[in-house]
Amino acid sequence: MQKLAAHQHICLVRLPQDKGGAGWEAYVGAAASTASEMYYSKTFGTWMGKNFKMYKQTWGGNSVTGGKNKFGKTTSNAIKWGGRVLGAWNEYSILQDYADGEMGTGWMMAEQGTNAVSIFGGIYGAAWGVGWELGRAITTLDAYQEFKFNFWYNRMENAIGPPSPLNVRYVV
């Protein structure tokens, strides 16, 4: 019973910080960066054909693959441009969210920073963006939140004992 009360107390504190995540644009943008690099990459020296198989840049392809430049490069560029526009869209939508009070200053700065890296950082920026979105996807899972709660709850309980009117100030 005491544990439930403490959980409710922590939830009341935690919920406002959970606000401020990016929308679907960020996820699609990150996926587009990855897909674009898969279809044609000079960095990794590979390209992908219509048959979804990866080939080395030294081979130009055939009718089955659609061709390195005719299919791989063209598809990669189309996806890359889609991802770029979504990145810019996400960047500007954050401005709106912040102005509307849906996002705190610290979170806005972090989101804008990571978007700037994704937009200007080339392949490394794209990788950064993908990592950022994967991290967000994990931290928004109920299982992760439950694990985090249990971890800190046990730690606090070991340090200061079970929740009581005497130690409730530590929870806040």
Binding site: S76, W81, V85, A88, L95, Y98, A99, T105, G122, G125
Partner: protein, 126 residues
């Protein structure tokens, strides 16, 4: 001025962070930098005069319009390739050109961080 920025953005995406298609990447990133200045000015003016925060899809629209213009000017006409061949610089000075391009990049990108705070401050103060 924009021509020099184009050339130095191009150098960045060929020498520092090599890209599969440096010209199209430059068109995108340069357009984004320019859109930050223009959207920033428009936002501040609207916040001051009309106490109004511009909707984000209008800002995205402005960015797309700038990108289309830059695409037509630099990409379709092959002006971008000519600028790279001519190695366009400020006063024929490589270091000055790098410095001014970096300054342009930092000023435009900084809007991402102080712009929203400043606009919110204006809107709340009125």
């Amino acid at each position: 001025m924009i021509n020099v920025f184009y050339y130095y953005y191009y150098l960045f995406y060929t020498k520092v962070l090599p890209d599969n298609q440096p010209h199209s990447t430059v068109v995108f990133t340069l357009s984004f930098s320019l859109s930050l200045i223009i959207n920033g000015f428009i936002n501040v003016i609207f916040a001051y005069l009309a106490n109004y925060n511009i909707l984000y899809y209008i800002m995205v629209g402005i960015f797309v319009a700038i990108m289309v213009v830059n695409y037509l000017v630099f990409y379709r006409t092959r002006k971008g390739k000519r600028l790279v061949e001519e190695k366009t610089k400020f006063f024929n000075n490589h270091r000055l050109s790098i410095f001014l391009t970096l300054l342009f990049f930092l000023i435009t990108t900084s809007f991402l961080f102080w712009g929203p705070i400043y606009i919110k401050y204006i809107l709340n103060a009125r």
